[in-house]
Amino acid sequence: MAILEVQNLTKNFGGLTALNDVSFKVGEGQIHGLIGPNGAGKSTMFKNIAGFYTPTRGDILFEGKSIKGQTPSRISMSGIVRTFQETTLFHEMTVFENVLVGTHNRSRTNIFSAIIGLDRLIQQQARTSAMKVLEFMGLGDRKHQLASELPLGSQRALAIAIALVSEPKLMLMDEPFAGMNPEETRGMMQLTRKVRESGVTIVLVEHDMKAVMGLCDQLTVLNFGTLLAGGSPEQVRNNPDVINAYLGGSHHV
């Protein structure tokens, strides 16, 4: 069953068509890769799904309901969270506080109960779930460190933890392997699988082909804003269009 369905999505910026009539589906519980050369429109696609852009045409369905044109926060409340290309964290906060901000969605509180202290129970729950996620991501012993002091791999893990603590159904990951050495990449791949096993569907944009091929169940290939191909890594690897436009043969055409 498709948890996310992109239908004939088109996005224009002025005269430029960044995405052109792209459709694909993401099955529940899968790791779905979004690949393509630079400028292919992957990031634009991401921002459309996450609500940072409003599509010019077409529709985006999440669990069968349209989320087109909703605000990022609204979309995230319905269960889609994204991580960012650069290691975007609240650098000035501790690891624990970072994750605590992430609990926003699950346990909402209002200003009056925050003042009077009525939300103690909710606060406690938020802290507990934050701690659980930190342990899950292997950051438990670093919780009092400032986010900016973490090594790169842990920063990425923290970024995922922030996303994970809001208990999303779908996680959009933007280049989670960028700048990682092979060892870090391997660790990150394991974490990603672990997240999926906890029941979260993942869509990721990535350049690292090895990681993509090893990790993803399904791939969608974009080139110049158009859908080039889709399917399992094996199918994509053998699709002549992809081969010629991106992978094998005259690669990088």
């Binding site: 630079n38 280049e175 392997f177 960028a178 350049h207 090895k210 690669h251 990088h252």
Partner: protein, 235 residues
Amino acid sequence: MKLSVQDLEVNYNNVAALKQISLEVSDGAFVTLIGSNGAGKSTTLRTISGLVKPSGGRICLDDQRIDMLSADKILRLGIAHVPEGRRIFKDLSVAENLYLGAYIHQDKAQIDLDLDKVYSRFPRLEERKGQHARTLSGGEQQMLSIGRSLMSRPRILLLDEPSLGLAPIIVQEIGHILREINQQGVTVILVEQNADLALQLADYGYVLETGRIAMQDKAELLADNEHVKKAYLGI
């Protein structure tokens, strides 16, 4: 004009971005730095051109240390940097952008000759010289960015991801132009994620991984290297 970089180190908010990078670029060479996103390629270029101050190591041009100089001084020594994302002056006209490239020069006649040269290399720019640069397409902006740098008469040209976001035929055209520039005696240091293109063009390549130089060799040999093929060429 030999550029040598020794044990260069750069830190961004406590995270080491470059660790012990050493490069040797001889006069007239065409060198490329490849590597995945975030490996430190751009940082290396930005450090050489003086935009980022290193926390360790040294950069020398011939025998002169340049790592403490500001970007505008380094340009005067003949190192021009075509930054990532073109960074043209969008509210200035095309011609004004090009003239600004020759900011460090005073000889009007020679500047006009250079301008003609740039126009003949990029005819599209001449057609649009009066337009605001923001009206240019992505490819034209990249050409403007390169043309602007050429106006400073560089001996060494640093290019940061010139193919980013451009269509294949323009990428090929830019590659062609870079080759021409190099053949006219300008040293070129090219940073590319499109490793395939970069290795075709360059004589020598460095592979960066997480802020370190993981490999270095002649470009042809790197292109044939199994590791490079797997990791960066997608084969």
